[in-house]
Symmetry: D2
């Protein structure tokens, strides 16, 4: 067995940071040895700097690690960024400048022309942007990003259908409260209620989806020329974003065409047997009322997307539902899978 690759987390004390800590427990390839956070936390033990908000208690392997300032210095080459968007831009750039491989969950660099926005099953080849990015910016390091948590669910639901020519997509989300971090959504706002608004989410879904499903074009990604419209809602569910999706296709596939595409769908992570890759990235459920967040979100370690209820749409062509784990496949797990892909591609050598 090869020695594990050391890695760190920027923004380790926040809720997204905790999800990274949790997801990396027992990882066969990455050893979490460095935790960066704000000056306020630096110098404290992790267990003292961060009240643990997830299930159970702070994992023992990190409880006594000393939190460091978010500066390149002695951080390992591979750092995951769980930083809040308000501070991520400059710190991530500083790390990339200093030669670090920044695998970021923050939204700050996602839509930049020379930054890959990866879903490894869909667009592993977008990593070809890395040399472009390094050349443009004069960096030894690099920044790669994963999508917004709701975008992942939509794009994995659509991934198998791309060959049929996606022309128009209508999506309505029912998003879990964990997507808003901690303290996040006040219980007074969401208990037995729905909040039909999530700031910035709809435009993120609309533009990120086009980039993810787009094509590498030398020095940038040519976005998919599909029109995407999103309605985003918060619902009182702990984990798991559900989306209702209607799609119009150029090539008018039949139900059998679509089912065959979904059930046969696979990607680079499966072919390369990446450590966090689910056996099948998209699982179709034939039960009339599934997938459901609470009942399905933890399956496959939260790394697969679940699709169901494929049926004709009277307005566009076909409609279906999709579910994914927003803090795993939509955040920490997504970034770790990106890093695994990058290791497989030699980008960490």
């Amino acid at each position: 067995m090869e020695p594990r690759i050391e890695c760190g987390i920027l923004g380790a004390t926040g809720m997204v940071g905790q999800h990274f800590v949790k997801f990396l427990q027992g990882h066969p390839q990455f050893a979490l040895t460095w935790l960066g956070a704000s000056d306020r936390s630096a110098g404290k033990k992790y267990k003292d700097a961060a009240k643990w908000h997830l299930g159970g208690v702070t994992p023992e392997s990190v409880a006594d690690l000393t939190v460091e300032e978010s500066k390149p210095g002695n951080a390992p080459k591979l750092v995951f960024s769980a930083m809040d968007a308000s501070v991520a831009t400059e710190i991530e750039q500083a790390f990339a400048q200093a030669g670090h491989v920044v695998v970021s969950n923050s939204r700050n660099h996602r839509m930049e022309r020379d930054v890959p926005l990866l879903v490894p099953e869909i667009n592993a080849d977008h990593l070809k942007l890395i040399p472009v990015q390094q050349r443009h910016r004069g960096w030894k390091g690099q920044i790669v990003t994963n999508p917004n948590c709701s975008t992942v669910v939509l794009t994995m639901g659509l991934a198998a259908m791309k060959p049929f020519g996606i022309r128009r997509v209508m999506v309505t989300t029912l998003q879990a409260i964990s997507g808003a971090g901690y303290p996040g959504v006040p219980s007074m706002d969401i208990n037995a209620n729905v909040i039909p608004f999530i700031g910035g989410e709809e435009s993120k879904m609309e533009t990120e989806t086009q980039k993810i499903l787009g094509d590498f074009a030398g020095d940038h990604i040519e976005p998919l020329r599909a029109r995407v419209s999103a309605h985003c809602n918060r619902v009182p569910v702990v984990d798991g974003h559900l989306a209702t999706v209607s799609v119009e296709f150029e090539k008018k596939p039949t139900e059998a065409d679509l089912m065959a595409a979904i059930e046969g769908f696979t990607g680079v992570p499966q072919q390369r047997k990446l450590a966090s890759a689910p056996a099948r990235p998209v699982i179709y459920m034939h039960e009339a009322d599934r997938p459901q967040p609470r009942k399905d979100v933890e399956r496959e370690r939260g790394m697969a997307a679940f699709v169901g209820r494929l049926r004709p749409c009277p307005v566009l062509d076909w409609k279906f539902i999709a579910l994914g784990h927003n803090t795993v496949r939509g955040a920490a797990g997504a970034a770790v899978l990106n890093a695994e892909l990058m290791v497989a591609e030699g980008l960490l050598d």
Copy 2:
């Protein structure tokens, strides 16, 4: 003050029946004097026949009324039907045959060619079907219906926009648990979860919407030639169905056109000052995150629809959200408003 008109409830012991009982408390025009239910309940006092599932306790005015069998006999002329679909068809027809005015919340007759499916603010003129119905069926009485609870929300949201030529409608609902009656949805299925399926609901929304927004054509309603596609979901909310809606129009209205139409919208119930009519049937909320079920559903006694977040839709033309009280405006209140309209039109004379 005129003497009040006596009325009864068919299916009085079920949850919808209880909503009728509650809504009719203190009604200025209708006096609830008769409660019909299954043979199992007949002969018992209402308070003994029905465990009260709504807030508080069984209203005193009906607690000691003796429940009767669901047969025409000594029922008052006006009866509201809260019966389960499994039994409503024959009983409602028997009452209409016997000369009763059956104002039904059941789905059984909604889509029949000679039965009005009323939303009084939208299609009060569909009552012109009554003579057709009576002639066809040889009835002295009549059956009128109100829509499914989710359809009401959608159609009231669309009502003001009809003049712009509604061509295509995509709707996703987030529906309250009270819509499923009692015992209804098991808590194990919906606690901290979403159920992305409600049996029969999507096709009801698609077809009822076309009929409600359609035009009286002599002996039937010519449905609106719009394509409607619905995704229906159950969410852990007590009362209030929320819908996200995208619409394509023939006449390409501007935002100002639509806002003027919504804010100026009114209907026959408002003009006739019907007792249960809200001052304004559709209320636009300018807050970025409203309407919300728990915070808005009880306003206006549950009789108005609330619309918000009107904005351009990248796929169709415009998108917005709509909210309505499913057990009031979507059931008991809807039927009572229908009866008020019928009184005003002289149909109970």
Copy 3:
């Protein structure tokens, strides 16, 4: 009809302040004309200074009132205090010093020796402390307080039983999220969960209960010599604190004794017909599974306590459950009832 007495709210923009605003709407005796808040809000219109967190929208009667600084100056004589404990002490004292009648919901002065801690049905005579307070402190004005929201529920549940000699009380609460204000409890902590801890709540329940049920003794209240032990829990309920209570009595009452006491219980507010007094302050429910927060909390405008399930306790003597509306009878409504009592007692003349 007499002219209404002008009143103001200190801390008007917070969630408790909003509950005061709501409860005072349409009050027959008090006219809300003054809203005080922090410097940050002062000078703004109320609707701009405070995002309205309760149902519906900011009431029109106050929406355009200009928020003032929390200084005596031009405030009316009667001010309700909804201030956060972190700032209430000095400001309330400044108002009392300046001659204002401060009717406070804050905890800061509750346990002070010369400050009445009122539940008008129980200890209206504790107002006799007012001259003591004014003499001690050299105030023209005065401060009176109402209990913590969970204490009100317990003491109203116990009130009718005081004649039997309360010796020991074990109470476990299931408290609503609204008791924690806004933003209050993060949804990530309480969704589908219970938090078995509320900071400071247990000792408040233990000591306040003794004072409320105690006796006026010349210059102070001699606390009830009962031992009280509280376990406090937060549950995912919007409004309504439920308590399970076991009691040991000196005089070993029978079930009939207790039922007669509960059902016959009344107090000064009922005798004086105070505007916000419920017809009966304590309502016993005979259903096996009631009272319940969501189903009963809004009855009687939230001003009554509901008791049920009286039965023998194998450890102490009797056990029962009690429910009250924490933001109404446990906060805004409690303070308003206190003020009504004070008006009736001539303390505002």
Copy 4:
């Protein structure tokens, strides 16, 4: 590795049965090969006979097993009973009569004089009742039971304290909805609500606790002579019963005495290293607001009890909170651990 022992489940299609199916997946010692249910299900494949209500889908290992009638016939010697109380008495007796070892989660035989009511960490020696039972009843087989789900939590919380002489116990439970099975609690009753009543639960907790903590006395269990009083409540939590507990002791332990007892507590399952035994059966959490159901219930595979907030009780001596997984340690896992103990004791030879 020894061959696994075949086992079956009586009542396999209900929700408790499904919990058994789930818990037995991958069990190192027991192979689930037989599924019994009502005549209605017999002859069908398990996946067709039972809609799977837990997370994910019906486990593959049983999906295609044919459900059998609940008759001894070809069932394996070891059968777990997940039957509803309405049918368990006769069927369990028929199996025991026929030589089966019936390890039951049903309440029917728990309080019978010659039936062990086991919590292996507490009263493994109660198995000495088995020969008594077999002699009395003329059975080759036997019935052993595990406690009601809320009793397990209480008794495991108390177990370490038994040496200090438990004299009086006050307990209030906050119980999860999964404890009521499926369909169980209607969402209309529990959404954003608390139900302060669970039929029969309080007396079960009071009497079962005395038996479990009692002593084997030749031909019966001499119950612990402690007085126990329970208040039982249902709360909108999926899994995990929480209890607030106050205790009076004969030997007046100090806090240090109790903490040492709790943290040093262990039992026969730990000593014998039974397959489902948690490393430590009772885990004390030092955080001020823990344990909590949603955050802690899945730890230790749901087999440990979690205790916290030990502090003086003004009414009795000490108070604390306890949490356990009601469908694992309070049902399926409890029974499986009982069976493991019986194997270790040679009762299945």
